[in-house]
Amino acid sequence: MVKRLANFLKHSYLGLVLLFMYAPIAILILFSFTDSRTMSKWQGWSLGAYEKLFADGAVWVAVKNSVSIALISATVATIIGTFAAIGIYSMKKRRRMVIENITQLPMVNPDLVTGISFMLLFTAIGFTSGYLRMLIAHITFNLPYVIFSVMPRLRQSSNRLYEAALDLGCTPMKALTKVVIPDIMPGIISGFILAFTLSIDDFVISWFAAEGVQNISIYVYSIARRGIPSHINALSALMFVVVAALLVIVNLRSIKQEREAEAQANKLRSK
């Protein structure tokens, strides 16, 4: 009996894990292809939800806000964060450790606290532009994540690279742009992707920090109080497909790069 259970788990464990992870999304995608008020009953195949989605102007304003804020905040946070990481990295050991910890504290701070403190700050200084309030909040909460993903790459990179650049005639600034930054580029890119994802995902901080501006999550939340209309299923399904496609492309690229590197290494070894 125990043996049979063990055997069953051996063959199906991973399948079960994947099932738990993907079942909700599968249901969502399935129900985006039916036109029903409630999700309790299947009402037959239909593309009605998608038609409604493309006809709804308010959705697309929210999508535009989400995407533009994610792009701009990720870009700005990546630039500021990269230079901050380089600065922190070149500090003396003790100061570096203190500053590194201070910059990473906001990552564990509850979103609710961050959001409310933004609201209080913006109200106190009388800053009213909703879009800019959201943008500034997103740049700020993205910064620690960028520093966090650039730092390990800097640690891997050798100080000698910077010195080699100076040695060959670079001014310190040129050494940074021509040698150090290209060397830590993988860390910078992953920092950017992380920041973009966090920004497009955010609800709590945006909800409190911004006023009168809706991104996707705020929009969905505001209409979901009256039950989730089917075109939101369609929107969620589309978002999932886009993200999944991006993920597949990124992974395929890194697999291809790994294969090439391996082939080259083999070629070297056989020489």
């Binding site: 050798s158 040695d167 060959l168 005639g169 001014t171």
Partner: protein, 373 residues
Amino acid sequence: MESNHLIELVNVTKEYSGEKALDNINLYIRNGEFLTLLGPSGCGKTTMLRIIAGFTMPTNGDVYLDGKRVNEVPPYKRRVNTVFQKYALFTHLNVFDNVAFGLKLKKVGKKEIQRRVESILELVNLKGYERRWIDQLSGGQQQRVAIARALVNDPEVLLLDEPLSALDKKLRKDMQVELKRMQQAVGITFVYVTHDQEEALTMSDTVVVMNEGKIQQIGTPQDIYNEPKNKFVAQFIGESNIIDGVMLQDYLVSFKGSAYQCVDTGFEPNEPVDVVIRPEDVDIVPLGSAPLTGVITDVVFMGVHYAITVNCNEFSLMVHTTDYVPVGEHVSVQILPDAIHVMKKPKTLDESEAIEATQEMKAIEEGMDAEEQ
């Protein structure tokens, strides 16, 4: 200042939080010479190189390059290039762009860059590798790229920081010969840092032996090997028997109860001295044909020769010889006058303690490195 002194260090001291990494160094380097800074880890040789390159500023003293004081001149304004220990090549660039890096910064014309990179790659035997990426090269090839990247800028001085330490023994030997060839081909002054005495002796015109931040001896490889100035140099360069002795008078030294003819002069009568006898300079002869006698206690085959230990009553003598002698045999040992080299005793601390002290220094310097980063 004489015109052929390309680099001059005057009273240079470097302190790291109170510890002296360099202690009042005075050294000049002539134009076109191959000079090696040799010493154990933590002796200050790398610090000296970094001061010449401009990465580190001396705490006290002055550095002159081509007659001009350069203490405050940043590395990118010095006509000095460095080959780093782990090469520090730019992995986001291919071989050509790595080598062309310095020339592009100097706004050299495209055709000129092409020509110079090609000719330098030919010099380092990497013709045809222009489009390769750095991680597609072997260690030895990366080494050559690092040398080409520095040399192509036509520096006044090329600084090399233990460039061969990451290569295996066979490759290292080949590269020693290669480096010497390259230096002679381009005629540029090389300042080479190593802890490998064999490397230093093979390649250099001048060897500077360092320990504890001080220069122990400056000389040609022959001088350093045959006429070590003190016990530290004698022990660090090659194997040697070092015996306490007394200089009785010019050309006569006494140790272990007997007097020997020697070729050294200039000591006080009865001055205590260190006597150096290189193992390959003494010979084992049939019993009775020389005054010093002993018993063979150990024989090790070393390939070219045997390393034989002879116990001569009060002391053991290491002898290198191509003739096999069995353990237990009673023999005589012949020490001719020119096999004996007499050195002054160090004035302050015992130098064998100094060697132990360098271990501590090494730990301190590594700590500094970590802090700098």
